[in-house]
């Protein structure tokens, strides 16, 4: 386990090195929140309006304040490195070392997340705290606890998801540009912009089966207090289920891809 702690630390140091880049990207996170705050206020607060989309005004504002930060936190970033490894043969250096490739990236991913997690979680704490006072809605400690648990699972789930997508590099050499598109689409599908539940029954049902919502919308919904205890527990169960499934798919793709990589001569 010691070597993975080392990898974790390396990731952490790397992230600290680039902290200013991260701070700037935080800004691009705050602006959509402002826009959406005004949008929802305009929709909900006009005289005589009764909005029936499953969210109260307070829940929607809490969602808006939290979802952007959560999606920023769980987002990948390592898929580019994996693509580089496979494309330029940098993979070989992992193959000759006694490390497990997927685990290597997992711990490095977690390490890199630490500084952003500290900043983003404090941002979430401040915004929801202030909003809670302003909107007079208290967030129960149980919900906060569940939120944190599901957030950790969401982080792992998104890692597995992106790892599977990154495995695609074995079959198509230059997909790095596609990753940009994929990650934007994933932010939308996971509810990082608006909750998927807003877009009709069909979208809702489908999105509750697919893994994407469980990376952003699900943890955020827990915090808004919208979900019942049962829904939370079953949601966490689905998260775990998807993680197991994706780890399985990921290692399968890894094995198949590696065979291809080696037969192609590295």
């Amino acid at each position: 386990m010691n070597k993975y702690r080392c990898i974790f630390q390396m990731g952490l140091e790397y992230a600290l090195e680039y902290r200013f880049d991260f701070l700037f990207s935080m800004i691009s996170c705050i602006f959509p929140i402002i826009i959406q705050f005004f949008l929802w206020s305009a929709i909900y607060l006009q005289p005589g309006a009764s909005i029936d989309n499953g969210y109260t005004y307070e829940q929607m504002i809490l969602y808006t304040l939290t979802a952007g930060f959560v999606s920023k936190l769980v987002i990948g970033g390592f898929e580019y490195e994996i693509n580089e490894d496979i494309k330029n043969g940098g993979l070989n250096k992992y193959l000759i070392r006694p490390v497990h490739y997927m685990r290597y990236y997992f711990f490095s991913f977690l390490g890199k997340k630490v500084p952003s997690a500290v900043i983003l979680l404090s941002a979430v704490a401040i915004t929801t705290g202030v909003a809670g006072i302003a909107l007079k809605t208290a967030i129960s400690p149980v919900h906060i606890l569940f939120f944190l648990v599901s957030l950790v699972l969401a982080l792992i789930l998104n890692f597995c998801l992106m790892f599977c997508i990154a495995m695609y590099s074995f079959w198509v050499t230059d997909v790095s540009k596609l990753f940009g598109t994929i990650s934007i689409v994933l932010v939308v599908l996971s509810g990082g912009v608006f909750p998927m539940d807003l877009f009709g029954n069909v979208v809702r049902t489908v999105s509750h089966i697919l893994p994407f919502c469980y990376t952003t919308q699900f943890p955020t919904d827990i915090l808004t207090g919208r979900l019942s205890q049962n829904a939370i527990v079953s949601g966490i169960a689905i998260q775990l289920l998807w993680i197991v499934l994706l780890v399985f798919i990921g290692s399968l793709l890894w094995k198949k891809g590696l065979k291809r990589f080696i037969s192609a001569g590295g």
Binding site: F20, F31, L39, Q46, I51, T181, V188
Partner: protein, 275 residues
């Protein structure tokens, strides 16, 4: 010099610059064709961002209520204008964003010695059409749909006024969004500023009417980003006072002058890199 020769000279200058613009566009396209994969991935990434913008359209139409005094159909016109403008802005964006690199590496040197306006060359040397295509298509479809659904009149005045404010928005975009990039002449890294500017652009994803009064004033008079995508729609809906009509056309001129002034200052400040 008499008036006639003056005008013929002016005309010659105009055609020359126009020809150069055409050449820059052609060469950029030819250079991009060398990297077709990059071109197509530019299109797909932009489609991803388009999806985000369209999700706002979906939210507004699903809510089905008037927002800031605008019906969902009318809001669709505003969002369509925003998407179209984004596409147009993205045409010159590569030139803007590569400016700091050109300053840092000193490749400006070879441009300064050319007998053509330096600002002109820097603004239009790298033109990219890949991001225009999806945005222009989606934007125009949204504008036309919204216009039709809202039952707005199609008259010479409404259409030409709408287009006039679109054009004034294009000019304002140029001046307003080149300004922050000019800071690279003074700062070592202006990445943060560029990123903030890009984020400010996205405020236009929604009509300005949803924002608070002070924000609207700020975005109309001090940092007039709202003019760019709101005024065509506001004109169409007859929501512009005579003063705002005037300001909507004067602001691009004012900011262009400001942009020219800052640019000439910036170039004086230029210390060529590399020995």
């Amino acid at each position: 010099m008499n008036v006639k020769t003056y005008f013929s000279k002016l005309l010659h200058r105009f055609t020359r610059y126009f020809r150069l613009l055409f050449l820059f566009a052609k060469f950029s396209l030819m250079a991009q064709a060398e990297y077709r994969l990059n071109f197509f991935s530019g299109v797909t990434v932009e489609c991803g961002y388009l999806l985000v913008k369209l999700s706002y359209v979906a939210v507004v139409t699903m809510a089905g209520v008037n927002i800031g005094g605008l019906s969902p159909d009318e809001i669709v016109i505003f969002i369509g204008t925003y998407i179209l403008m984004t596409g147009i802005y993205m045409v010159v964006y590569p030139s803007f964003s590569s400016l700091s690199q050109k300053v840092r590496e000193g490749s400006l040197d070879m441009l300064i010695v050319k007998p053509v306006s330096l600002q002109f060359m820097l603004s239009f040397q790298n033109i990219d059409f890949s991001m225009l295509i999806p945005n222009a298509a989606a934007g125009i479809i949204l504008i036309v749909t919204g216009w039709y659904q809202a039952g707005l009149p199609v008259t010479l005045v409404s259409v030409s006024g709408f287009i006039l404010f679109l054009l004034s928005g294009v000019f304002l975009t140029y001046s307003l969004f080149l300004l922050p990039h000019l800071l690279c002449f003074w700062l070592v890294s202006n990445r943060g500023i560029a990123e903030i500017t890009a984020a400010v652009w996205d405020f236009n994803n929604m009509p300005q009417l949803i924002y608070g009064k002070w924000m609207q004033r700020l975005g109309t008079f001090i940092l007039p980003v709202f003019i760019i995508t709101n005024f065509p729609g506001l004109f169409l809906l007859d929501r512009l006072t005579p003063f705002l009509l005037f300001w909507g056309l004067a602001a691009p001129v004012l900011f262009f002058i400001l942009c020219r002034l800052v640019f000439s200052r910036a170039v004086k400040h230029y210390t060529s890199a590399g020995g």
